[in-house]
Symmetry: C2
Subunit: 281 residues, 2 copies
């Protein structure tokens, strides 16, 4: 079990109130490496970054366009630019994550806390929406989100649902699962319909076997959660999907976040995410 104590490794939780506070903290070479972002700067959108060589950028952008539920693209950098100004004025993809993973030809080769020396003029950075925004909205609505109440990591599963390929990017959809009462499931669908940039409505409800999940007790990533009598399993597209598609594409280099070290933005997560994200005033 991954113990869920989001602030345990924060040097001074009170000082990390905004996405920008978090980025400045990670940017400091003296900060603790690989700080987890779960529960950090509540109210600000977090996103999954992926950095690719320019020659793969169009294929990846198209892959996201074709698979918006697991891969909702919230920002794309200019070629060679490490900034994403729509997510944060001074955001710098080279330094502002708590931890990076470096992949070569689909193999994890290193985990680092900065990528300044690896950055290339042809790199393009992408940010994919993640489920924290809609979880905030569910919790605010009084819906019990099981992995949060149990203090564990959300369970993620590989399905048999094929993705629309684009260039070398292909594979099957990964999902998260949250068990709910039927009544809460209906309300969760209603709420998440307003958050298409953070995975939108579920991709499946009910029998896990229908999407190729044989055993809820053995997630691909994360921890299993309790499913109670009379509850229905609700499955959402998961932003680890593009990372698995990247593994299949085997680019000569790709850079992602270390799990749990997401990109912290200045975009309010409480906002209705149908529109493009806009910065907090």
């Amino acid at each position: 079990m991954t113990q869920f104590n989001p602030l345990a490794n924060h040097p001074d939780p009170g000082s990390v109130r905004t996405g920008r506070d978090a980025r400045l903290l990670f940017r400091d070479p003296a900060s603790t490496p690989f700080l987890q972002t779960t529960g950090m700067a509540p109210g600000f959108m977090q996103a999954s970054p992926i950095i690719l060589p320019g020659e793969l950028a169009l294929d990846f952008a198209t892959f996201c366009q074709r698979n918006p539920k697991p891969c909702p693209l919230v920002a794309t950098s200019n070629r060679g630019s490490p900034t994403l100004p729509t997510l944060g004025d001074d955001l710098d993809l080279r330094s502002d994550l708590g931890g990076y993973r470096i992949w070569r030809h689909g193999e994890l080769v290193e985990e680092v806390t900065g990528i300044g020396e690896l950055w290339r003029d042809d790199f393009v950075g992408f940010a994919v929406g993640c489920s924290y925004s809609f979880e905030d909205a569910l919790v605010r609505d009084g819906i019990e989100v099981r992995h949060i109440s149990q203090g564990v990591c959300v369970p993620m599963y590989m399905t048999n649902v094929p993705l629309e390929p684009s260039g070398p990017f292909a594979g099957r959809m990964c999902v998260t699962m949250r068990p709910m009462t039927p009544r809460d499931a209906i309300r969760a669908i209603e709420i998440t319909s307003r958050f298409p940039l953070t995975h939108g409505t579920p991709v499946h409800i009910g029998d896990p076997g229908q999407i190729g999940i044989d055993d809820l007790e053995t997630p691909l990533v994360g921890d299993p959660v309790e499913v109670r009598e009379g509850e229905i399993c609700v499955f959402w597209g998961c932003s680890i999907t593009p990372q698995y598609a990247m593994l299949q594409a085997k680019p000569e280099i790709a850079i992602t976040h270390k799990p749990g070290c997401l990109l912290m933005t200045d975009v309010p997560s409480r906002g209705d995410a149908i529109d493009l994200p806009s910065l907090a005033a």
Copy 2:
């Protein structure tokens, strides 16, 4: 005034029941050139195509990602491929439009009914959602859509609202305007929130001057419509926006539809367009 008689130039309106029927008609070299698609194959989504050299494709995809209200991308072709299978099984961008416009360095040079001989191995085709889908939904809800009742073309205006640039693509947002009672305007916002792939909710309501429109009587494209006492003007992002951004980018070649000759798809326009379009069963 553009007279609105959508079926006037159709050889046999009854035979054009689906998007595919329309594409097969346009594909026939013996068909009347430049047939208008307004009102054709009701219930099927129409889209604005734009075809660009590969070297500009990533910049354009990113431009659409950054400006989703005027430029909602509903499909992207593979490089060199004239197909868009998510919009129609046998869709062929080289032949399936009623009319094409060829642009060189931002200048209109020709209008043709097929582009087979111009197609290149590096071309990428894009389809941008258009407002017909959400107009269907408004009409089904009993909302009067003024330009339809008046039998004219929807008025389109240039605003002073800057777009998020990407590469050479930049400029200001174009909008459509529909005057409504305040009650209908509220309901129209509610309905269009479910159609982000066809421009979503309005970008402005009320005073046209606030978005730089000085005179409603002289639209950039289309016809002025009557605004009655007590009505409020409701402005939506317009899919001519990417064409104006293309004019500014001045690509060595670009291909768009001739106005009124949209790309007919097999995607039901009545569907809730928050998800990716899916083909009619």
